[in-house]
Structures are given as C-alpha cells and as structure tokens.
Amino acid sequence: MRHLTPRALGLALALLLPLALFVALVVGPQLIHPFTEGGIAGTDRAILLQIRLPRALLAALVGGTLAVSGVMMQGLFRNPLADPSLIGVSAGASAGASLVIVLAAGFLGGPELLGISLVAIGAFLGAVLTTSLVYRLSVGVTGASVATMLLAGIAISALAGAINSFLSYVADNHMLRQISLWQMGSLGGASWGRVAFAVVVLLPLATLFSRFSGSLNVLLLGESEARHLGVDVARLKRQLITLVALAVGVAVALSGTIAFVGLVVPHIVRLLIGPDHRFLIPCATLAGAALLVLADALARWVLAPAELPIGVVTAALGAPFFLSLLRRRAGVSG
C-alpha cells in the first residue's frame, strides 16, 4: 500500500523543487539557455529576473500553501476527500473578487500596494468573511460540529456562488472576461512585491501548520478519542480554521482560485507514505510547490506566446495521475 519511506519521498521532493524552479526559468515563450557563454544578458536577463523568477517563486509559495491547507482540512474533517473549498474559502474569494471587479471597474489597473491589487484584497476579505460565517454557523453548545460545518460550508458556498452569478450577469463583457479569467487562476500578476508579501505571510503560516501534526494524528482516531488523549479539540478546530482561511485567502488573492492542488496533492502523498502528519505536512508542502511551478511552466509554454489558465493545467496533470493511483490501490486491496 505504501510505496516509499517518508525520508525517501522528502529527499526526492527536496531535489525536485529546485529542478522544477530551474525548468520554470528556462521554459517560456522564449527559451533561455541557462549555460550561454558569457552569461545571460540583455532582454533574457530582464525576462529571467523581472518575470520568470518572481513568477516561479510565487507559484512555489502558492502551491505549497494550497497543498498544506488541504492536508489540514482533510485531517480536521477526518476525510481524505476534504479540501479548503469545503469551508467556503474559494466561493467567498470568487464573490469578493467579482464584487470588486464589477464595482470598482474604473479603478482597475490603478492603485496597487506592494503589488496587491484591489481585486486581491476583495478576494481575501471574501474568503475570510465566508469562512468565519461558516464557522459561526457550526458552533453549538459543545463547540463546532464538523458535520454541521460541512453542510454550512455547502450552503454558504452556494450563496456566494449566487452572488457571483448575479455579478457576472450584471457585468459588461470586459468585466465578465476578467471575472472568468480570475476564477481559472493565474500567476501572471507575479511581481517581486507579491513574492515579498507571500514570503512574509505564507512562510510563517506554513511553519505554524507543522506544529499541529501530533494533534491531527490523534484527531484521526476520532474527536472523543482525541480528547481522551489530551487534545483540546474545540481549540484545535478554531485555530486550524483560522489559519487555513488566512493562508488560502492570501494564496487565492495572489493567484485566483486554483482547483485540485489542495485536494489531490495531500491525497497522493498520503497514498505514497501513509497518513502520519509529521511527514505528510512537509512532503505535501514540497509536492504542492513543485507541482504548481511545473504546471505554471507548462501553462506558459504549451500555447506560447498565449497562456493557458493554470487551473486547467493542474487538473489535466493531476487528475489522471490521481485516478491511476486510485485504480492501482483498488487492485491491491480489493
């Protein structure tokens, strides 16, 4: 059932990520040969330093964040098919982004702070607001119920989806195109400002996540089992939901909604090395980072000079791989 030791996978991923970054620097509408005589200069140098490098780094940060957030949600819901969108993050972010695109149409492309656009701020606020609403709805006398949270997440996501549809309906052609492009996700807006922002916000969050590995392992046994093993389950849920909402909110604000990474990367890593969060968290983070860097490189290269939306690439890459793993597993156990 398990194919690799956590150490072997961790090592492989630690080698794969730099390799992926390297590929992302080389590949694009214009191939840049890394070992040119006399070094890389002129336009190539500018493309590398101002466009590709920040973009690849942002892809790594966003991909790692989405994957590790998926690990957290699957552990919290004790369900390997959970992902951050269950608690309304993605739907809320979409609604927030659409709202800004429609209402603030005149300002778009205007003021940016640290490379963060108004749309990004709208997406982040939308994500955090929806998640806190979902959480509040599911808190009863005995703390948050995971089952209620799931249902509240579905209902609130549907509501956010309705707002989103309404906004798409009233939007003009230009806005509509922006809305749908945003929803397919893109790292095209990458800049050093955004990278700096992501480093400052996402890296601390990622290290915080690893502190929950012991509690999450115990939680897989069941909520009351976890309490009897000394875990304050209500507090754990509160902390995890907050951190995931912040992390995914920021990731989505920076890159739009990129489906699939948060669901499938943790699942694949778990199939390979087992469910122990002490190894799952770092490995899934590295795998998510590498996957998104490669997916973005592919997105820039396949239709060059045009770009594929990155969500299309992640789904097209990961879904078949995921299905083959599932089928192989079904063959082994059944």
């Binding site: 069941g222 875990v231 778990r270 122990d276």
Partner: protein, 259 residues
C-alpha cells in the same frame, strides 16, 4: 481513584441515568452489566468526563479526589485511558502507529514509547499485526489494536497511583479465547495498581474476573457489590427477563450461570 456522586443524565426529559453513586479503587476491576439501553455507555461516558451534547447532567465525578470537569485535558490523559465502544479510523496507519498514538500524552521519549507499544501489542496478542494497515484488519483485530492503544496510554503511568482504564465493551468483537485473554490481562493491570471500569455483556466473564459489579436497568442502579452479591438468580431474572440458574462449574471451583 474514581468517585461517582449522585450522577444523573436526562435527554429532553427522558431519564438515561438516575442518581447513581459508586466508588472505584486502584487494584479493582469493576464491571457494568445490564440490558441494551440500560445506560452502560452513558455511565462510562460521564465517568470519563465526556459531556454528551444536548443532555442535562447532574451530580459530579471525582478523579483522584478532584472534580473531573476541572482537570486539564492533558493531565487527565496521563492518568485515564478510555476505549469507546466503536472507533472509526479510515486512514491507513499501521497497527503499531495506532498504538503509538496512545503515547501522545506522555513525554517518555521514542525508545521507551516503542518498548511500551511492543509490550501493549504483545499483551493483546497482536504483535504479529504490528506492520499491517489498520483498515485491513478484521473487526476483532481492530478491537485488540485499539485496546493496545488504550493500554499503551496507561502503561507506566507517571504517577504512583496507577491509572484508570475505562473500556466500553472491549470484548464485543473478540473470539472466546481472546475474551478470556483480555479479561485476564485487565485483571493483571488491576493487580499492578490500576483501576478498571468496563461494560460487559457476558455475565460469566464478569463473574470470573470482576471484583465489583454494577448492575443497571433502565438507568437505575439495581445492585452494586461483589459478583456473589449481584449475580443472583432472582435479580438477574428481574433485570434481563430470562430464567437464570446458578450451577457449580464442572471443572473448577466457583459457580456458573446458565440460562
């Protein structure tokens, strides 16, 4: 070690437990008997400090002389280990990893923990399952692994007082030989100073291994005392609605219940 004072539990006006008091000491095995719905699991839940959602609870539980509700979860987990009636685990931990989770509350170091895990697995005759994925085990094997997890949690408890083990039907999925083995093991844990509180259905198993029996019917305490005092034909007939006969065991000392 554990004192139940005038415990009661009602769900929306329906009485599940009514004014129940009992005392558990280290070194003793206490078995809770009674028909389905008598309140056995509810009693064990309250005794382990769980608050059933939407229920009204009366009375108090004292653990080592202190009100259980006020004890920090992490501290409680070092002195009390609980096996629920059913645990559901879909994630493909190996059996040894499941048992290792029982060591979470302790800070005894990896080497010591590994030893405890191996000992606990061996004690429930599951050493050969150590590397198998938990979801692939049979029901009885899963129950033994969960029991090993609970034993590992109470193993070498850091206090001198011994630990409290609360087990809700720990033998429900086990074959006859493993039932005897598990009860003998719990007997030995009590001999080492632990207190054991468990719900059972097999009256003879309870009669052979328990020091104290708590007989419940419809949420009320019908009898509390030694097996000889509680396992009376008239009392059991009243509670279970079946005619019981107490006969001499053909092969060894003591009596046996047939019905």
């Amino acid at each position: 070690m554990l004192e139940l004072r005038d415990l009661s539990l009602t769900y929306a006006g329906r009485t599940v437990l009514a004014s129940l008091s009992a005392h558990l000491q280290g070194g003793q095995v206490t078995a809770v008997l009674g028909p389905n719905g008598a309140g056995k699991s509810s009693l064990l839940r309250l005794a382990s400090g769980e608050q059933p959602p939407g229920a009204q609870v009366g009375g108090e539980v004292l653990f080592r002389g202190r009100n259980l509700a006020g004890i920090d979860l992490a501290i409680k987990a070092r002195g009390m280990a609980v096996l629920p009636q059913q645990s559901h685990l879909d994630f493909a931990f190996r059996a040894r990893e499941v048992v290792m989770l029982g060591r979470t509350p302790h800070r005894t170091g990896l080497a010591a923990d590994r030893e405890v895990v191996a000992d606990a697995l061996a004690a429930v005759d599951a050493a050969h399952l150590a590397d198998r994925p938990y979801p692939q085990l049979s029901g009885g094997e899963q129950q033994r692994v969960q029991l090993a997890r609970v034993l590992a949690q109470a193993w070498h408890a850091e206090s001198e007082e011994g630990a409290l083990l609360i087990l809700d039907e720990p033998t429900s999925a086990l074959d006859l030989a493993h039932q005897q083995q598990v009860l003998a093991l719990l007997r030995r844990r009590a001999g080492a100073g632990d207190a054991v509180l468990l719900a059972l259905h097999d009256l003879n198993l309870a009669g052979s291994y328990a020091d104290q029996i708590l007989l419940l019917a419809q949420g009320r305490l019908c009898a509390l005392g030694s097996p000889e005092e509680v396992l009376r034909e008239d009392l059991l007939q009243e509670v279970f609605g079946l005619p019981f006969h107490r006969v001499a065991h053909p092969a060894r000392d003591g009596s046996w219940l047939v019905y």
